[in-house]
Amino acid sequence: MAASVIEASRVGLTFQTADGPVHALKDVDLTIGQGDFVSFIGPSGCGKTTLLRAIAALETPTAGRLSVNGMTPDAARKARAYGYVFQAPGLYPWRTIAGNISLPLEIMGFQRADRKQRIQRVLDLVDLAGFGGKFPWQLSGGMQQRASIARALAFDADILLMDEPFGALDEIVRDRLNEALLALWAKTGKTIGFVTHSIPEAVYLSTRIVVMSPRPGRITRIIESPLPRERPLDIRDTPEFIALAHEVREGLREGHSYD
């Protein structure tokens, strides 16, 4: 495995609520290497989103050690280590697509000429060249989500964290975006953390699949994918794919996710 980018050892995260403590994460051990595509899968409440947010320093673990690029998540965020993509595109309606992609660049202090060049490059990367001048509402849901991915890529973070980015889209659009995401990953060599609750999506995309279970949120199984890095959509009909999907399902059952 390549150099590790994200390392978690015995990470725990407990929310204090009015009804007492909620153990969102418990004893999470995980290492993500450079260029890995890691999916987090599990039922709701298993802490997969919390883990991703902890890596992004949007939540703070209450136990264990978590490092990103050898730094604390907080320091890594300030060093622009990652781009984050949420389930909703979260584009500002008062900015054009180019303006939205420009937003993090403005905040980080990139010069105007540099911004323009970067916007052009990431628009090409997500196949939205020519749509920079459009407002978000003029684009379909799938295109909006691609724009939000472009926004996360614009400042050249090595890590892309995606929290159910295609969860709100229909299956046909989702298939196309999954394919496009793999192409983008192959082209850029980013390390990707991807939260999903779709077994086929996790199996199709990932080099490693992290199966999680709830109460307390923990990792029950980490599955290395034997599939080649180059994956046409019809790989999903191969016996290897189906066997892998079966293994993920087994992992979920093991964690009593179907109870």
């Binding site: 949007l58 979260g90 905040i107």
Partner: protein, 305 residues
């Protein structure tokens, strides 16, 4: 844009008149004028009857109705009397004359605009503080609410007197009263507006390590624009009311409020109603102007579809 679909030509125009907005608007207007005429006849009837009894004359119905609608000091002037009063006040006087409604309207308008500017600015600044500072959220809001529960009619004379004792008269005291009324809607609207960004949008900002001021200028402020304009419309109307109330005490000699007061002193009801209509027209004008600025701004921001 529903009317844009109406077909052209004369037939289309007539259909548009019948189906569109023109017909219902005219109907309502005519109904109001009709009710007003009936009310004027009814309310002025007693006076006409008394006059007739005193001079021992018997009036025909036509004479009776005619007299109720042409009294010098009617209880309720008829629409055409107010129209004449308005016309005389606006077009029949030199603009600098003390009898010109344009002169009095300008005095009121200038204080309204000053008060509106002060009030809106105060409302926006307080809202920014409230959204960013928990202590301010808990300490300022109750006082803001309390300030609006005090009747403005009770506050206005005090403000005028306090300012007058400090030697300040004219525009400023009235503007302060106008600001008193107009800061509140802006405050409430802006607090709501600045808080519209959802958790995800704020998380995005955090993921880029955006500073508080970047978060404010690039996310919170643009998000609040629709709320700002809605509250500005309420605020400008409130500022006008505040100014007029500020012109009532202290025997101010100019402004629509002074015009109302002198009208009521001398039983000049036509004068009162003319001043009232001028004030209403002023309010409509101000709200329209803000609506126009709103439309342009939101269009430029891509928020108007």
């Amino acid at each position: 844009m529903t009317e844009a679909a109406a077909p052209g030509g004369v037939g289309g125009l007539m259909r548009r008149g019948a189906q569109g907005r023109t017909f219902p608007v005219l109907t309502v207007l005519l109904a109001i004028v009709a009710i007003w005429y009936f009310a004027a006849i009814g309310m002025n009837a007693q006076w006409v009857r008394d006059q007739a009894a005193r001079s021992d004359t018997v009036l025909t119905t036509t004479q009776f109705v005619g007299q109720t609608l042409t009294l010098d000091r009617p209880v309720l002037p008829a629409p055409h009397q107010v129209a004449v009063g308005l016309w005389d006040g606006i077009a029949g006087q030199k603009v600098t004359s003390k009898r010109s409604l344009i002169y009095h309207g300008w005095v009121t308008l200038s204080a309204t605009l000053a008060g509106f500017a002060i009030g809106s600015l105060a409302g926006i600044l307080l809202a920014v503080g409230i959204v960013h500072n928990r202590a301010m959220d808990q300490s300022v809001m109750p006082w803001a609410v309390a300030s609006q529960t005090v009747p403005i009619l009770a506050i206005a004379p005090m403000v005028i007197v306090v300012f007058a004792s400090a030697g300040v008269t004219g525009l400023l005291p009235k503007a302060v009263i106008a600001a008193w009324l107009s800061f509140f809607p802006v405050l409430v609207g802006m607090v709501k507006g600045l808080r519209t960004p959802d958790a995800m949008q704020l998380d995005l900002m955090r993921s880029w390590s955006a500073s508080q001021s970047q978060q404010f200028w690039r996310l919170r402020l643009p998000s609040s624009m629709p709320y700002l304009f809605a509250s500005l419309k309420v605020a400008v109307a409130a500022a006008l009311v505040g100014t007029i109330v500020g012109e009532l005490p202290a025997g101010a000699s100019s402004g629509l409020g002074a015009r109302l007061l002198s009208g009521s002193y001398y039983g000049q009801t036509v004068q009162i109603w003319s001043a009232l209509f001028t004030a209403a027209a002023l309010a409509a004008l101000l709200v329209t102007v803000i609506g126009l600025i709103e439309k342009l701004t939101l269009q430029r921001m891509g928020l108007a579809r």
